[in-house]
């Protein structure tokens, strides 16, 4: 440990001066990440503009200069899409931003997105050696900076290998599908993505709000893939308009990747779930994000906005729904059945939500949504919980406190308790092995399903997870497809 710490002496200039007093050991105080400029909380809770504003070139260089360029870096192994973090951070420190961006894009098709929504604190930054004594290098913020820089300065297209002459169909233009398509294109395959919606991006477009991930950023990443030669066919619900076997047998695709996601929203098994002011987070967010209901009636899609909205759940989607509710003018309260420490949402998201004024109710579980004769929500009956013995997930199981029922004064409820796999592909594709949760089972190493040549990855395999884990699965499958076609 001590050796590493000594090595961790900063190389960068302009550090705070060391104390003159002579302690036993000369140790600088632990450094912190250079803070990310942000929109003021009061102001941003009323607009849909991006919350985090991004580093300046000066901030990025200073942050990158802190990196100690470990001989055996651990950060890269923490990255599901294997970005050469050490390499690109060095380029940032040297001010070679375009080169840094190109280096990231060699393995990561969506860096401007990852730099914004990856949980770096549990991945690359968690394993950062510099981070043992200090706050880790702000890898996510640097990734975001260079990809934004490259986008604004006109990214040149990389040189691609000669075409192999083999066609791959990718189902779903979400994080898994886009990554798989990007990697395969970089290897020389012809890739066609079939997307059910009228826009690409999957959850990046319909789910994650503008203020956390601007849609221009997503569109730019996708357009870059299109420039590389990826073709996207919209309005194509595979399993309905064409089946996977038709793609393989009639359309001449050599292989298929299924990245159709975990799109089916879960509801609670309590009374009142079908009242008219109860929404899945998917519906609420899709109306606002994809269909731009916040611009109604300029856009035709309406969205309901209550005065006081309860959001059930404690994940990132719940935070997104709560913060979107605020921006539409409502009071938003999170209702979560476990304790604060157990919130599955990223700390940063919870912090942002609190700053903006989202109210948190911990250890509270809804038991009934109350409605009037018209079917509108007039309240939500809840019960207080306490933490009992640990459950299968290792988290202490919340148990109801008898007699602690109370009514929450709300007029709208958003349910954000997770999603199940979309059933359309499993139902329409004979031969796939489907788990009892409805997910598609694959060979973990290759990503191939039980149907030869058909691969799958992302939420349709794992159930609802993160953008980056889906991207990692898309990458693994691209490699699996390449190996399969070159056996």
């Amino acid at each position: 440990m001590t050796n590493k710490e000594k090595k961790a002496a900063p190389k960068g200039k302009g550090k705070p001066p060391t104390k003159k007093a002579a302690p036993k050991r000369k140790r600088k105080p632990p450094t912190k990440k250079i803070p990310m400029p942000e929109q003021d909380a009061k102001k941003r809770s009323h607009n849909f503009d991006e919350v985090a504003l991004g580093y300046t070139a000066k901030q990025a260089k200073a942050e990158a200069a802190k990196c100690i360029q470990c001989r055996n870096p651990k950060c890269i192994s923490g990255c599901p899409v294997e970005v050469d973090i050490k390499g690109f951070v060095l380029l940032v420190a040297e001010g070679k931003f375009m080169e840094a961006a190109a280096m990231i894009k060699e393995t990561n098709s969506l860096p401007a997105i990852c730099g914004r929504v990856c949980p770096q604190e549990t991945q690359c930054e968690a394993t950062c050696i510099y981070g043992i004594r200090n706050e880790p290098i702000a890898i996510g913020r640097l990734e975001r900076f260079v990809s934004d820089y490259a986008r604004l300065h006109g990214e040149p297209l990389p040189e691609l290998p000669d075409k192999i002459g083999k066609k791959i169909a990718v189902i779903g233009a979400g994080p898994a599908g886009l990554t798989c398509a990007g990697d395969l294109t970089n290897m020389g395959y012809d890739v066609t993505i079939y997307e059910a919606f009228h826009k690409p991006g999957g959850v990046l477009i319909y789910g994650i709000p503008e203020f956390r991930l601007p849609k221009d950023v997503v569109m730019a990443e996708v357009e870059f893939l299109e420039k590389l030669g990826v073709e996207i066919k919209y309005n194509h619900v595979i399993g309905k308009i064409r089946t996977i076997s038709e793609l393989m047998e009639e359309d001449g695709f050599n292989s298929v990747f299924i990245g159709s996601g975990a799109g089916a929203p879960n509801f609670m098994r309590i009374a009142g779930m079908n009242l008219i002011n109860v929404f899945s987070a998917n519906e609420f967010l899709t109306r606002v994000n994809l269909m731009k209901a916040y611009k109604f009636p300029e856009y035709d899609t309406p969205v309901k906005v209550g005065k006081r909205i309860a959001i059930i759940g404690g994940g990132n989607v719940a935070m997104d729904a709560a913060r979107t509710s605020l921006r539409l003018g409502a009071e938003a309260m999170i209702v979560y059945r476990r304790a604060r420490e157990q919130l599955p949402a990223r700390l940063e998201e919870v912090h942002h939500a609190e700053e903006e004024g989202v109210d948190f109710n911990f250890l509270v579980n809804p038991i009934e949504v109350l409605g009037d004769e018209k079917g509108s929500v007039i309240g939500m009956k809840c019960i207080r919980m306490e933490l009992g013995e640990p459950d299968d997930s290792g988290r202490r199981r919340p148990v109801p406190i008898e007699g602690s029922e109370f009514d929450l004064d709300v007029d709208m409820v958003i349910v954000a308790i997770g999603n199940s796999p979309n059933p359309i592909i499993p139902e329409s594709t004979p031969g796939l092995k489907i788990s009892r949760w409805g997910t598609i089972e694959i060979n973990e190493e290759t990503g191939m399903t039980d149907v030869s040549g058909v691969f799958a990855g992302g939420d349709i395999v794992t159930g609802a997870a993160t953008v980056i884990s889906a991207m990692g699965a898309g990458k693994r499958a691209a490699r699996g497809i390449h190996d399969f076609l070159n056996k």
Binding site: P265, F296, D300, G375
Partner: protein
């Protein structure tokens, strides 16, 4: 983009468009629906297909102009294009099966949706009795089409201007009272009509199928807006339906959910009227 190849104004409020969509026409089956987004600012909404032609590569939609989006759709002319046209979605009708004697019931615009299903039932070898109903004679649609495929054909109007004076359930009730052997009733129309059809057949224990037109955003099982209680279970009309056992559907809940956006619909309608005139 999906081009409008033909247009028919069926009556003052009902229009029919034939849309070029060969990939959908290739596999479309009776009872399925499409999701439509007319233009960049448009909303996504479902319409159950009224017909399809595999050879010509077309899908026909017949709809009543009730809100801004259907008015906008009705204002399209031959040669105009629809931005997004997604399908075929939902589970098809079991219209290739032989049940015996089927009573097909269409109310208002529902008759357009009943038509391809009833035709398939007839082609499969079922005996087909059709009841076509509307508020008044001018609103009866698909009269010749339905009559031409039916073994027996009845019409009803609420105001008595054509056929039996009364509701579709008046004729259905009579058929049941006469002791006619009915193996299946298939009904599409306004929710109250479907509710009363289901009530009429319940005592006689006649299997009754209804096709629901819930509010949807994506139409592929992703938003849950179309959820409906069937036998106390939560179902999604888009992937589990749109057809369900009429004796098990909670119609009152469905009606409340269909009215969820009346205020916003009024705003959109007013905006449309002020920009185009001619609205109510």
């Amino acid at each position: 983009m999906y081009e409008v190849l033909d247009k028919k104004i069926i009556n003052e409020i009902t229009k029919m468009l034939v849309v070029q969509a060969p990939d959908i026409a290739r596999v479309c089956k009776p009872g399925q629906f499409v999701m439509i987004r007319i233009n960049e600012t448009g909303e996504r909404f479902p319409l159950t297909v009224a017909d399809f032609d595999r050879k010509k590569g077309t899908v026909t939609i017949t709809f009543q102009e009730v809100g801004k989006s259907t008015r906008l759709l009705g204002s399209l002319n031959v040669g105009d294009k629809i931005m997004d046209f997604v399908g075929p979605l939902g589970k098809p009708s079991p219209s290739d099966k032989v049940f015996g004697t089927i009573v097909a019931i269409g109310g208002g615009c529902g008759s357009a949706i009943v038509y391809p299903v009833a035709r398939a039932f007839k082609e499969a070898g079922n005996t087909l009795i059709t009841i076509n109903g509307a508020r008044t004679m001018d609103l009866l649609i698909y009269r010749e089409e339905l009559e031409s495929i039916s073994d027996e054909f009845y019409e009803t109007t609420d105001d008595g201007t054509c056929g039996t004076h009364g509701f579709v359930t008046t004729v259905l009730g009579d058929l049941i009272k006469q002791g006619r052997k009915i193996d299946l009733v298939f009904a599409v129309g306004p929710v109250p009509m479907m509710k009363f059809v289901a009530k009429t057949t319940e005592e006689a224990k006649i299997h009754t199928m209804v096709s629901l037109n819930s509010i949807m955003v994506d139409g592929t099982g992703m938003c849950g807006a179309c959820r409906v209680s069937v036998d106390g279970q939560m179902k999604f009309a888009c992937v589990d339906g749109p057809e369900f056992d009429g004796h098990k559907v909670d119609f009152d809940e469905l009606m409340a959910r269909l009215n969820a956006y009346v205020d916003q619909e009024a705003v959109s309608n007013e905006k449309w009227a002020s920009e185009h005139g001619g609205a109510e």
